[in-house]
Symmetry: C2
Subunit: 526 residues, 2 copies
């Protein structure tokens, strides 16, 4: 068996020559097709309209003013009329998250084009004590990007200009409403890449990515946004503009205020512009899809990938059999190897294809030779890599089709990474239809997903707070990359000390004394 | 000429085999010798004792209490007696920076060992309104790490325990007083490296590095500390401990408070512990030393290095002829190639020596072939690389020997990078003995240094604010990596907007209402 497998991926000087394509091209995902599906789902959900968040979670409305005709007049005077959206049906996709799990009841959506317009809106809302909900592509998973009550939605969808690309330093400056994938395609013309990639790239906005400190598929190589974002311009609750739009890689002139806005989910300010440092676009990319028998083999293979692929390792992903079965069953996609308990996607990106292939070969030969990897295939042709990536990136979409998904995005020490999936599976038994795990093993970031036919409070109570207690016991993080938003805010204490939470509340008071910026989000209820 | 040079670095399959060592081993810098010299200079300066900072810069003392016997009793009770240092001579090296440019008059130095002791000290000082100056290795260049008046010095020198190294995730947790080089040697045993390297590594503390957001030689590869520091524990002015010691690569659970303490130079809190993500230690390192005729050639070569060396480029440094002459004259070191108007150091680090050498060869052959690089040599043997690095790292030390150095550490767009050196040289003429530039061209970070036999206010007035105005006009940063400390605080407005400065002051008020933490630093005088 081993020798045969050796033959399959042991001699991949030109990997595409031996790539085993098991399915006709016609069945392969079109580059943007599934992203288009996502957008469509977000705009016109085919699922039953979900309960209002305020009802399901019994939230009390904050002491904010309610929008009146005078306010509408002000907004229509400030913006063109068609940039003030009022109709309930036009707002439906903006009141509901794409998972169909949380729903607000806003009656006004504003589409500013400039920082000055955002500033004027905030200045007015602050005087009137009107609450607002900043919204990018509305692809969040924790209810952070939709209103809870009647907050005015401020969309960045028309703030999508690229200001400048500096080829030598690799820095791009743009407005916050640029769609991630479009921005990446733009910088590609200059030989650069945005150091961030995630499933929702076809619809998420870069401003939303920065506001939520999005992680994604390539943190293992390029690090997080606190490292790669060089400059931020943000509008405070008062309407004041904080201009920290440095395009310099190094700038130690006082407190680095931009970090206040990275990951604070629009509760401290609305990001209007961004400067990001982009690495050179790789000339060679290879993607290996591996099958493994045990989780110990997964950890061993990750360690070996770090050591042997070194500087060219650009992604290291993990999928368990249950997650893959869900994709096969609901999306009619098939993995290119026979069923295994665990799968890994290992991507390399580099500047010299021959060198990269040689490194990848050595790694794979050793992994197969040692028996730690029992089957695998390699792709370097774009459409084939896209197909394999689809198996990983479309899991969330596949899960939705089975009912209600209880989603957990946690960081764990590697030794505990998969144990929580097994423990929760034991705990939940037949009360749920699926309990699976996948995610960014390279970053210690697990996506634990549990499915039942419909939302049930009893099931939720079996899962929470157990999953958070479990995570806290091993010093993990209860939200790795999705943020806290609305749904996880009351669990912050599992990952943060009381002193830290107190300081966060003081910072919120300092920057937004009336609490009008994205209320009911991030900070725990008092 | 070109063909001969080709012969020198065109065929470096094994670079050490053709490395031309022009000087006997005995003249080569011993690994740690010059760092020991630095430490010695810091402790017992051979230069005339410099004027008190408060006198030279006409500073008014803040309304803080003065240390009395009761305070000493408290500290001696809290710490062992030998960890409360009182003698003037014992404090001299801690009251003066290593450049001999600023001098305070503290009479008490405390050496806590634990977070709890730092907390108890701060709680007491806050109640008594006693000002403090946190101090690491005291290797700063802007007067941030020494007192201005009689602030109590809190040294991290005894807080040097490494708590844990996680081989799989690459995360090291340690106290803030670990010396950078010692910490790097410690993680080397686990196949890791600290993603930070700078000239003062033999004496600087990791806590000081993080507090000042130190940059150094490898930012072009590994990014800055806001990216690689995962966790921080800090003690506030009140004595409260803020524990954000996550060791997870991803943690989006509320505002990321650690960034408040990275780069705020001890004015918002005292860093007591740190968690850093370390990359794998490279298996192969090569260092090229190049001579170039024009600055345009330098930019071209940087662009080509990024494109052709890609993921293995780990440092890209720049030295002008005047800087190199200073090293030759004062330290009796010689560059391994004939004099050139400009020099570059280009380092590669990777996981496969053959691949790296092949990439480097291709890059150098093209660079020589195009005439953009006119001479060069390559080293991969540690002592030889160390010698070449000495030429770059010891420039600051060489400059000191010529008198008083007016030091500027600025970020500039690449197109303007060297123009400021030429403009300042024209402006200053014979009033100064040297005006030179070197630094991290890969990060757009120039070290502009101007020397006169002794400090003269007239010369300072010719340089400042001109150098800051010049930098601001091209949207650069007036402090790239050194910070503002005492000496640059009043120039912050050249790089930051008034709204941003106002917000910084509010943050200082929030975290340290009495202003006892490192006063007279970072924030401009009101």
């Amino acid at each position: 068996m081993l020798r045969m497998l050796y033959g399959r991926i042991g001699v991949i000087r030109r990997p595409n020559a031996v790539f085993r394509l098991l399915y006709p091209i016609s069945q392969m995902a079109h580059p943007n097709k599934w992203q288009q599906i996502q957008i469509h789902m977000s705009a016109v959900s085919s699922y039953p309209r979900c309960e209002l968040t305020s009802v399901r979670y019994k939230v009390d409305r904050g002491k904010f003013s309610q929008v009146c005709q005078e306010d509408i007049d002000f907004f229509q005077n400030l913006l063109d009329c068609h940039r003030v959206i009022l109709g309930e049906s036009d707002l439906e996709g903006h009141n509901t998250d794409w998972l169909g799990m949380v729903r607000g009841a806003s009656s006004v959506l504003l589409k500013p084009k400039t920082t000055e317009e955002v500033s004027a809106i905030m200045s007015y809302c602050n005087q009137r004590t009107l609450a607002v909900c900043p919204q990018g592509g509305n692809t969040g998973l924790v209810g952070g990007s939709v209103p809870v009550f009647d907050e005015i939605i401020i969309s960045t969808s028309l703030m999508n200009e690229v200001e400048n690309v500096d080829c030598l330093s690799g820095v791009v400056k743009c407005q916050s409403g640029c769609v991630l994938e479009a921005l990446d395609q733009h910088v590609a013309e200059f030989g650069l890449m945005i150091p961030l990639d995630l499933g929702a790239k076809g619809s998420c906005h870069i401003g939303g990515n920065v506001s939520t400190n999005a992680g994604g598929l390539r943190v293992v190589r390029y690090g997080g946004l606190h490292g790669s974002v060089l400059g931020v311009e943000a509008v405070l609750a008062s309407g004041e503009v904080i201009d920290c739009m440095s395009a310099m890689k190094k700038d130690n002139t006082g407190y680095d205020l931009k970090h206040l806005f990275i990951g604070s989910e629009g509760t401290l300010g609305i990001i209007t512009k961004i400067a990001i440092c982009c690495p050179p676009r790789p000339k060679a990319v290879n993607l290996a899809f591996l099958g493994l028998q045990t989780f110990e083999d997964v950890l061993h293979t990750f360690r070996e990938a770090k050591a042997k692929l070194g500087e060219i390792l650009s992604s290291c992903e993990f999928i368990d059999r249950s997650s893959m079965e869900c994709v096969e069953l609901n999306l009619k996609l098939k993995p290119p190897i026979d069923p295994h308990p665990f799968y890994m996607l290992i991507e390399t990106s580099g500047s010299n294809s021959e060198h990269d292939e040689e490194k990848l070969n050595m790694f794979l030969e050793d992994s197969l030779g040692s028996g730690k990897v029992s089957d695998g295939t390699v792709a370097c042709e774009p459409s084939r890599m896209l197909y394999i990536w689809g198996l990983r990136e479309r899991i969330a979409e596949a899960l939705i089709q089975e009912g209600y998904t209880y989603k957990y995005d946690i960081s764990l020490p590697h030794k505990d990474f998969y144990r929580i999936v097994e423990d929760m599976r034991d705990r939940l038994g037949n009360s749920v239809t699926r309990c699976c795990g996948y995610g960014h093993i390279g970053d210690g970031n697990l996506h634990l997903n549990i499915v039942s036919k419909e939302f049930k409070k009893d099931i939720l109570n079996l899962i929470e707070p157990k999953v958070y207690e479990w995570t806290a016991e091993v010093n993990g993080s209860i939200s790795a990359e999705h943020g806290l938003g609305f749904k996880k805010r009351n669990f912050m204490h599992f990952s943060k000390s009381s002193n830290a939470i107190k300081l966060m509340k003081h910072m919120k008071m300092l920057l937004d004394p009336q609490g009008i910026l994205n209320p009911y989000k991030v900070l725990p209820e008092t």
